[in-house]
């Protein structure tokens, strides 16, 4: 396990996190390599989001460290974030700006893949909404815009917190398809979910 963790692209070693007095996880290890998917399962409030946030470097762990390319991410936050795209529960778009304005702003925050915007929007079924302000979009449609951000970013590592929330059945299968495709192109995915997830990619599961 140790050897594997040292050579992995992304690894967590002896992670422990407390929220208040409650221990969310203790001594947790994981190792993730390109082409793999890590699924975090657990009840509501079991600490899936906290673990994701800790891996992304948004909260400090009690013990342990997360390493990217064998180097702790705390020492190379920028390099790590360069490879990361984060889909959180709150989509992170401005309600008063249009879909296009929001995505244009995103493009200056992180490296962009050479994908055609129109094509991505069409695939996600939000192409005709592009000039509407975000507040006019339904929760599921906003979720799809967040998926567009993910596809447009040139990031190896996708971190998804409950990616299928608010999505219809077709949207859910689209997410699974996108994740499988990303993994097939040597991408890495960490996903927190409480629904059943069916993927055609090598998958590890952590139960919290």
């Amino acid at each position: 396990m140790r050897c594997k963790a040292l050579t992995a692209k992304l690894s967590g070693d002896d992670l422990t996190l407390f929220r208040g007095d409650r221990c969310l996880f203790k001594g947790l290890n994981f190792a993730l390599n390109p082409g793999e998917v890590l699924l975090l399962e657990g009840r509501n409030g079991s600490g899936k989001t906290s673990l994701l946030r800790a891996i992304a470097g948004l909260i400090e762990l009690e013990t342990g460290r997360v390493s990217w390319d064998g180097v702790p991410i705390r020492g190379q936050r920028q390099a790590f974030h360069l490879a990361l795209v984060w889909l959180a529960h709150r989509v992170g778009f401005k309600a008063d700006l249009t879909l296009l304005e929001n995505l244009r702003f995103e493009s200056s925050l992180r490296p962009q893949a050479e994908r055609d915007l129109e094509e991505v929007l069409e695939r996600l079924g939000i192409e005709r909404l592009k000039n509407l302000p975000m507040r006019a979009l339904s929760a599921g449609q906003q979720r799809r815009v967040a998926l567009a951000r993910m596809l447009l970013a040139d990031a190896v590592l996708w971190m998804l917190d409950e990616p299928v929330t608010n999505l219809d059945r077709e949207g859910r299968s689209l997410v699974m398809q996108l994740v499988s495709e990303h993994a097939a192109h040597n991408g890495m995915v960490i996903m927190a979910a409480h629904q059943d997830i069916k993927l055609e990619a090598p998958m590890q599961t952590i139960r919290l």
Binding site: A83, A88, F93, K94, D96, L97, L109, R110, Q112
Partner: protein, 232 residues
């Protein structure tokens, strides 16, 4: 190998993008900017009415009143600097972006200054008229406000970042920002008073400029650190 090829977006471009986005939001909701501006104009115009029309008194109290009104107007608008970004999750997106957070924080403070500080400077001559301020002194007033509001925007961004996760952080924000903004208030108001008395204003302006540069070089980093703490 892939990592090296990946093009990082420019820091300057990121800063400009944040500022542009915030200004675009202001354009779509102009009410947020007009509020502090109204506050400034109202306080400063009500004062002469309450004090009375004595020219001597007005000339004496003018600089102080204008400066206090400007300071409070800035504080009023600082409150919401990070709140909406925090609530809709875009702050989190900035935290995990590959750009230095301090650059993005500077962009936000710059947009705040452009949308709250600069309008104050622009309307200040109108308000100064009610205090019978001579034209030459109005020029000094505008200069001090220009430098002062800039440092207040930057100082306030630290306080706003520290209180972003708290509900009703207004009182705390004022408590945090006011002590640091005292030099701005004292030198700002005194410089204008001195100019009105016929003295040279250069010393005070130099101090304000130096203080602004100092704050400008510290505040973005302090704001970035505060944002990371507030987001835990």
């Amino acid at each position: 190998m892939m990592d090296q090829q990946r093009q990082m977006p420019g820091i300057w471009a990121g800063m400009v993008a944040v500022a542009r986005r915030d200004l675009l939001l202001v354009l779509k909701r102009p009410g947020d900017v007009l509020n502090p501006l109204f506050f400034f104009a109202m306080v400063a115009t009500l004062f002469p009415l309450a004090v009375g029309p004595s020219v001597e008194q007005l000339e004496f109290s003018g600089p102080g009143v204008l400066w206090v009104a400007a300071l409070l107007a800035m504080l009023l608008s600082l409150n919401s600097l990070f709140t909406s970004d925090f609530e809709d999750g875009s702050l989190e997106q900035m935290l995990v972006s590959s750009l230095p957070l301090s650059a993005l924080a500077f962009g936000k403070a710059a947009a705040h200054w452009l949308s709250s500080g600069l309008p104050l400077v622009i309307v200040s001559p109108l308000v100064a008229m009610t205090f019978r301020m001579p034209v030459a002194v109005v020029g000094v007033l505008m200069l001090t406000l220009l430098l002062g509001t800039l440092s207040l925007s930057l100082l306030g961004s630290i306080g706003a970042a520290l209180t972003v996760g708290l509900h009703r952080g207004t009182a705390l924000l004022s408590l945090l920002v006011l002590p640091l903004s005292m030099p701005v208030l004292i030198f700002g108001a005194r410089t204008v008073s001195l100019a009105a008395a016929g003295d040279t204003a250069a010393g005070g302006l130099y101090f304000l400029a130096a203080y602004t540069v100092l704050i400008m070089s510290i505040a973005p980093f302090a704001t970035a650190a505060a944002l990371r703490i507030s987001n835990e």
